[in-house]
Subunit: 506 residues, 2 copies
């Protein structure tokens, strides 16, 4: 009942298998764009709901800005346009006409419109209008939106031409306050990733070559996938006065002087779901972190005749309503009773593959014993099968919440030890480094020798990154937590103090 590919046999195909088996999303007829299906969209809704609360708690309001950006606005910030020009959907016409039986674009626009790949430029124009005095600052805004980047090699959730995200944009009266904001939202992302998605991350700053186009500093959370590759899961940018200058966001400061504002931007996207898949799933399918699972408990009824059906449905409904009166993570438990006309065994496997945390089977025998059969998605018996425990009805109702909370903790801890155990800190020369990153395909459960992250000293010379390119390795981040020691740059051998994380990445 498992997947066609395993993590060991073909990690990349396994990823596609999971998406299909859990019915998360599929490719659409619109090139590079995906159709997100209910279980996948449900994950996004729960990420969104929890993140939205935190964005509001930190003082931000939701706005909505246009999907189109006039070309002239987009090109105001030189680095910004250079970074995005290669992957842009451009609207050039505003109607279609019938030309000898064939529909063709007509009514060309005076100025082409870019479909937003990100909204700094158009939002900065509004800030410029809204901000006059230090009293108008800070402006703290966020929007939930779709964006388009014309990816040449699209991959569902990880790199799609269209994706969903939130983008925060703020303007401040001082550099210090703007940097504080940048780091505050980075911390919010860490919390969402670690505490909600059970996905541990390294928090750090990007080196210059990996910065957001137009940013002064880019901060990120980086997570480790099960093949040892890094996934950039979220970024937070201190934009300095770059966009303030290009859009003329000025304010009168307390000394009555005109000053450019200091802006930030930060975002996470449906890419997080790609990270979730590759952090938690196994060869049976997805494992969904209980805190954001669309359904935390799924009840599958088993019956063979109408008499049994009536009894089982009653029992299942009772279980559902009693569970819904209890809580996990401070919220009502989300229970689904699936009484579709479909074989119970197929339903069980459907939810195992979707990674529903607890899948409950109830049939006439369970009713007799007043118990339930609980499939626990992250536990396995001694034959390697997903653990099934028979638990008394009342006992299960009483402890379902703590079972879900424990599973969340266990999933985080499993991912955290994968990360912690696969950061090599003992590689100090370029020879060792090259040898370590030679094996290109890796699956980490196998052996500690397969490549994951290397934490080592770096001298900071931009040229050194050329040598990394040959190994298909990049500097993922300069962790905020630095050792403070001095050593030798792992690439050049020069004296260096900076600890950085090197890895292959998605």
């Amino acid at each position: 009942m498992g997947l066609q590919n395993t993590r060991k046999s073909n990690y990349s195909e396994w990823y596609q298998d999971i998406i299909k088996a859990a019915d998360l999303a599929e490719n659409s007829l619109s090139r590079g764009c995906m159709v997100i299906k209910p279980w996948g969209f449900g994950l996004w809704e729960h990420i969104q709901k929890n993140l939205d609360v935190k964005i509001k708690e930190t003082g931000h309001d939701n706005y909505y800005f246009p999907i189109f950006i006039p070309l002239s606005l987009f090109q105001k910030e030189a680095n910004h346009v250079e970074g995005f020009a290669k992957e842009m959907a451009v609207v050039t016409h505003s109607r279609l006409i019938n030309d000898n039986g064939k529909l063709v674009p007509a009514s060309p626009l005076e100025e082409p419109l870019v479909v937003r790949p990100t909204s700094e430029t158009i939002i900065a124009e509004s800030f410029s209008k809204w901000v006059n005095s230090y009293r108008d600052l800070p402006v703290l805004m966020n929007q939930w939106a779709n964006v388009v980047r014309w990816e040449m090699r699209p991959r569902i959730f990880l790199r799609t031409c269209e994706f969903l995200w939130q983008e925060g944009h703020t303007a401040h009266s001082s550099e210090a306050e703007a940097i504080e904001e940048t780091l505050k939202m980075l911390e919010v992302y860490r919390v969402i990733s670690e505490e909600y998605m059970a996905m541990p991350v390294i928090v750090g700053e990007k080196c210059e070559s990996e910065r957001f186009p137009g940013a002064k500093n880019t901060y990120c959370i980086e997570s480790m996938m099960q093949d040892g590759r890094a996934l950039q899961a979220g970024t937070s940018h201190y934009l300095g006065q770059n966009f303030a200058k290009s859009a003329n966001i000025t304010f009168q400061n307390k000394n009555n002087e005109q000053e450019y504002a200091y802006t930030t931007s930060w975002g996470v996207s449906t890419r997080l779901i790609g990270g979730l898949i590759m952090t938690h799933s196994d060869d049976e399918g997805l494992r969904t972190p209980p805190r954001i699972a669309p359904s935390q408990v799924v009840i599958v009824p088993i019956y063979r005749n109408e008499e049994d059906e009536a009894k089982v449905v009653e029992y299942a409904n009772k279980l559902k309503s009693e569970l819904e009166a209890t809580q996990a993570f401070g919220e009502k438990i989300r229970v689904k009773f699936d009484n579709r006309d479909k074989a119970p065994i197929d339903k069980r496997w459907e939810y195992i593959r979707k990674g529903a945390p607890l899948v409950i089977e109830v049939g006439p025998k369970d009713i007799e014993k007043n118990s339930v059969a609980v499939n626990i998605r992250n536990k396995f018996d001694d034959k390697g099968r997903i653990a099934k425990e028979f638990i008394a009805f009342d006992e299960f109702v009483a402890k379902a919440g703590s079972m879900l909370e424990n599973m969340q903790k266990e999933m985080f801890e499993a991912a955290k030890s994968l990360l912690d155990n696969n950061i090599r800190e003992d590689i100090s020369t370029w020879e060792e480094f090259q040898a370590y990153f030679k094996p290109k395909n890796a699956f980490l459960d196998d052996s500690k020798s397969t490549p994951a992250f290397v934490k080592a000293k770096w001298c900071g010379d931009a040229e050194t990154e050329e040598k990394l390119k040959e190994l298909a390795v990049t500097i993922r981040c300069i962790p905020l937590q630095q050792s403070g020691t001095t050593g030798k740059c792992v690439i050049t051998g020069k004296d260096a103090t900076m600890d950085v994380i090197f890895a292959r990445s998605y």
Copy 2:
């Protein structure tokens, strides 16, 4: 402190004034697209949250489909493409290049992409893939999305090039079930409009000329604005087998025969906010229905020195937390304490203009008397000023919930009597009809003789609609509730049984 324009002096300018005064939205630098600001977006979030619950309760799942539709897909349904071709943003290029210092579109696409004006065509393709047997039906999906229609005369919320909406799409194994679905969602829209937005509607069917392009039947909710014009607030379409045929959605029915599925679609959009404004607002600003108000109670502190400030802030925070422990509409009351550095009188007016239901002023004198000053947004004193009541602290905490619930009821009743009192049923000849619709600008509070809705018999001949066009009047709907009587068509004088609603519209 009121607006520049009143409903009587210039209704259309008054509408723009309200949007500005309540800071709901503004025009953007992207032609015809709006920037929705926090109070406006907050209204949308509350409409969305409540409607989403009802969409899910009626068995639908949320999906997300691409923003782009390949041209070839879009043109499969002939009526559909004809209806939308004139107002379509078309993406033709996938990058920008620097041509002598000027950025120009490059890398033309093999096939142009339409920015979705609605998603029937691309969703039908997926349905075709997912549906094989009657066991796969019904498919019940919804998505929250942005759509683009190239409006020539854009107007914020009412007609914008980009707007936000939800679009439901379903496929069924029988016509009866599909029609039942169409009407079920129409009823959900009625409930959202009447019970949440306090906006009464007439529920009916559109005549043929007003149908959605590609639909067999279009049902609608129509509301009456304060100037007597109709606003189509939501539509639900029975699509028959039209899209099933163009996209080949077939299934094996219970008799083992191949059959085309029966589909529906239904949507409401940010246009609802335009309806809300024109239903409830007065010459002071917006009035927000409490059930969907971003903040239901706003506390404005009044103090002149630091000593007072400490006391007032403590008192205000106590009020906030005690109010938040109470409920309105079965939910925690939403309270905002606005302690920005700004004159209290300006803050008070800001929230009056935003239409916050209850605006509370608290200063040292209120603390002495252990009371609060409550501005009640929909009540006026004998001088025509917004009513301010002084209520004991504990008493106010105890009754804030019921005050909000009453206000919701009163706002609905006020709008309902406007509607009920302005449907003329005594116009039976074409001469009377013409005379009635002559005065073009109207404000209903003024006189019963200004034009609003006419309910009269119609023979159903499509040619008669030409005569209506000369009066800028349309048939808004054929109400589901029919009298069953026979009479004469108000246009042709022929025998007719059908009751219809005639009106000018937005």
